[in-house]
């Protein structure tokens, strides 16, 4: 199998690292070589977070090169737009219709573009827009937004749902299993 690249981007505190951990672990479970990369440190204090996940028979670089991502999963829409040059021609964009204002915007020093979704769609008409917050609330906890989005992504990857469940159970506390699996399913059914 050719190496596949998935980029997950958003803002520190959105649960991106857990989502990308679950994705990587699932690929390891099905016997693939996996590499994933993100930077810890400064960027966690409310800054941009980008996680690169790559899997296949043999993976070399943990970083995705520009124009090479099969899928970009954006937890926050401005961050999705920011990383768009990493998308492959005909790649898939999954974007959470969710805004977190960067500090310069909140302080009135910069503006948040009004029509991020339509800007993305002008180049990628098939971009899939998700309202993950409502789905997460429906699942029983607004904080399960990251798992909703992971569910959306999972649909695109054609791996048995049981393996995803197994990996989720191995990683999250037992008392959150049900909420997380509900969140995952709600995401899975979006497409």
């Amino acid at each position: 199998m050719e190496t596949k690249s998935v980029m997950i981007c958003g803002v520190g505190g959105q649960g991106i690292l857990l989502a990308s951990d679950l994705l990587s672990q699932t690929m390891l479970e099905v016997g693939m070589d996996v590499k994933k990369s993100e930077v810890h440190g400064m960027s966690q204090r409310g800054g941009t977070v980008i996680s690169n996940v790559r899997f296949g028979e043999k993976v070399f670089s943990p970083l995705i090169r520009k124009g090479d991502a099969e899928i970009i999963l954006a937890f926050e829409k401005l961050e999705g737009l920011r990383q768009i040059e990493y998308l492959k021609k005909n790649g898939v964009v999954l974007v959470n219709n969710f805004v977190i204002e960067p500090l310069p915007v909140a302080c009135g020093l910069a503006e948040y573009p009004e029509d991020v979704i339509s800007i993305i769609k002008s180049s990628i008409p098939d971009a899939i827009v998700i309202d993950a917050l409502s789905l997460a609330k429906k699942a029983g906890n607004a904080r399960s937004m990251n798992i909703v989005l992971l569910g959306v992504l999972a649909k695109k990857l054609e791996i048995d749902k049981k393996i995803w469940y197994y990996v989720i159970e191995k990683r999250v506390p037992k008392k959150t299993w049900e909420v997380n699996k509900r969140a995952f399913d709600l995401g899975y059914e979006v497409i």
Partner: protein
């Protein structure tokens, strides 16, 4: 068993499997998780947060003297702090195997410079290994102890941010117990006074020759022949990037990168038509290879500055991919990191800004006080610099200067390297004002314990060392502790102390808000009474991520607000910012 481990986790695992008994570090991105993960093996590996990197290397050296396998880990600039013992240790060599881990930060994700610590191996004349993924990070840690013992050398294990923080597949092994050799006095080896050191220097030069031979046959210095029209020499994470972009080229992958295997390099160069070196940051391999008269292309096409990545290599070799472009891309606001809502540093910087003071800064979360809208810090050099910088400026500018100078330093940074410059201020008759931002933890790097927290890395209770006691013992007579949430008091004390003609220290004490959130000890959120709010935007000057404007009125995001109430103290209209009585 196969698992996904980050490079840092893999080094920790390698220390465990390789029989390490002693590990020390001072935290620093991207190296911090090495010791945090070694702590999982605390039953068999003694481990600690040392007060700084120099101390970390000194205690590890002591453990090696006693015959145990030992490791000291630090970020790249940490090795500058530890450089003094590092160079002596090269002459002394090892008893128990000793590894110094240097985690470099190309791209400066969380650092003040982009220094390439491979140069340290050359200047200190000791062995160096560079892994290119987590499996190698684990194996090279184990091998590193063996090489260190076999060749009586300290070993530099050189990592970089992407290696430290990327997870790749690792096959786990068992721990090999290595007995502690015990201590035997040998002053010719361990007491480097000139008469002994002269002999040890001769030994070091001999050792380099032996290590060169070893490097020639080291199994991880490896040729991979493919299309011979392009030959690439590479090491570390750069090798993985190159393989990604140029899978069909021939490679000489180097892992033992000091001293280099020149015979192997020559052999490889003769077998390929065009020879390239692909390396991140400095032309370290390139200069060594060129000095041997072998012609290579390197920094002509691969930049020295910034983090390397496969996109850059693609472009350098004319293999850029077509990517999606947005026709009308708007300008996107950057998303800089920010001080948290309720951060105890925020009111201090707000006050320093309002008092228009010149502020020499230091390194920690609080360096973010330099960014807008706080704009409160003038300088940041390295850990511990704020005090000396303030003193030097004051001596030159003198009392006539219309701007008063204040040094700000975090608690962990104060213990790390703030004490000696404080003594210097007192001893050399300074008048500096120092603010210690005591949030009771090493926050920047993810909440590590330090001498002021009462806990060790191994989770044991220990004495709590109070900055007040240290400051007084250094001879400072004017020491004041304030709660930074109390804006009036804070302003009064700072204003008074900068005028004083003697050294004074203000300790602004309140635990890091993230610690309080974890303990659920935060207040109820505030909201804005929009009828009262006059839209003056004074509250926005705090740069609190919970506050923004909505319809010309202040708006508080109650999901973020932790109820510190600092904004309410600033608000010119009474009863505009109101604290909820119950969770909404």
């Amino acid at each position: 068993m196969k698992v996904l481990l980050s490079g840092n986790e893999a080094v920790a695992r390698g220390a465990y499997e390789g029989g390490c008994r002693f590990a020390a570090a001072y935290p620093g991105t991207p190296s911090t998780e090495i010791l945090e993960n070694i702590a999982k093996y605390k039953d068999v590996i003694y481990c600690e947060w040392s007060t700084n990197e120099k101390v970390a290397l000194e205690v590890a050296t002591g453990a090696s003297f006693a015959g145990a396998r030992a490791l000291a880990a630090m970020k790249h600039v940490g090795l500058n702090v530890a450089a003094d013992p590092f160079f002596s240790l090269s002459y002394i060599g090892s008893t128990g195997g000793i590894i110094i881990v240097s985690a470099d930060d190309p791209g400066m994700h969380s650092s003040q410079n982009e220094q390439d610590n491979r140069h340290y191996a050359r200047s200190a004349k000791l062995a160096m290994l560079e892994p290119s993924d987590s499996q190698e990070a684990k194996e090279f840690t184990i091998l590193g102890f063996e090489i260190s013992e076999d060749f009586d050398t300290p070993l530099l294990l050189r990592l970089s941010t992407r290696l430290c923080h990327s997870k790749t597949v690792v096959e786990l092994g068992e721990r090999k117990e290595v007995p502690v050799k015990g201590y035997e006095k040998d002053i010719k080896k361990r007491l480097v006074l000139p008469a002994h050191a002269r002999l040890r220097h001769i030994y070091v030069e001999e050792r380099l020759k032996k290590l060169s031979k070893f490097s020639e046959q080291f199994e991880y210095n490896k040729m991979e022949f493919n299309d011979k029209s392009i030959g690439i020499i590479s090491s570390g994470i750069a090798y993985q990037y190159a393989k990604e972009v140029l899978p069909d080229a021939s490679y000489l992958k180097l892992s033992f990168t000091y001293p280099l295997p020149f015979k192997l390099i020559e052999k490889f160069s003769k077998n390929v038509k065009k020879l390239y070196v692909i390396e991140e940051n400095d032309p370290f391999l390139e200069m060594e290879i060129k000095a041997k008269g072998i012609n290579v292309i390197g920094k002509e096409i691969i930049p020295i500055t910034g983090e390397l990545n496969p996109s850059i290599i693609s472009e350098a070799f004319g293999k850029k991919r077509k990517s999606v472009t947005i026709k009308k891309m708007p300008s996107l606001s950057p998303r800089p990191p920010a001080l948290c809502p309720g951060c105890s540093h925020t009111p201090v910087f707000y006050t320093l800004n309002k008092l228009k003071l010149t502020v020499t800064g230091d390194i920690g979360c609080y360096t973010l006080g330099a960014l807008p809208p706080l704009n409160a810090i003038d300088t940041c050099v390295e850990m511990g610099a704020s005090l000396g910088n303030a003193f030097g400026m004051e001596k030159v500018l003198g009392e006539k200067s219309d701007k008063k100078i204040v040094a700000v330093i975090g608690d962990s940074t104060f213990f790390h390297s703030g004490i000696t410059p404080l003594i210097n201020i007192v001893y050399n008759k300074g008048t500096s004002t120092v603010i210690i931002l005591d949030n009771r933890i090493t926050a920047m790097t993810g909440h590590q314990e330090h001498p002021g927290t009462g806990k060790t890395l191994m989770g044991e209770d220990t004495v709590t060392i109070n900055p007040e006691d240290i400051v007084k013992a250094c001879g400072v007579k004017h020491v004041f502790t304030v709660d930074p949430y109390n804006l009036k008091e804070l302003k009064k004390v700072i204003k008074r102390e900068v005028e004083r003609k003697e050294p004074s220290v203000i300790i602004a004490r309140r635990p890091c808000i993230l610690l309080l959130i974890r303990k659920r000890e935060v207040g109820k959120p505030f909201y804005v009474d929009t009828e009262e709010c006059i839209g003056c935007k004074i509250c926005l000057q705090l740069g609190c991520p919970a506050i923004s404007m909505k319809n010309e009125k202040a708006y508080i995001n109650e999901l973020f607000c932790v109820g510190c109430g600092v904004c309410a103290q600033l608000c010119p209209i009474d009863n505009t910012m109101i604290q909820r009585e119950n969770d909404s």
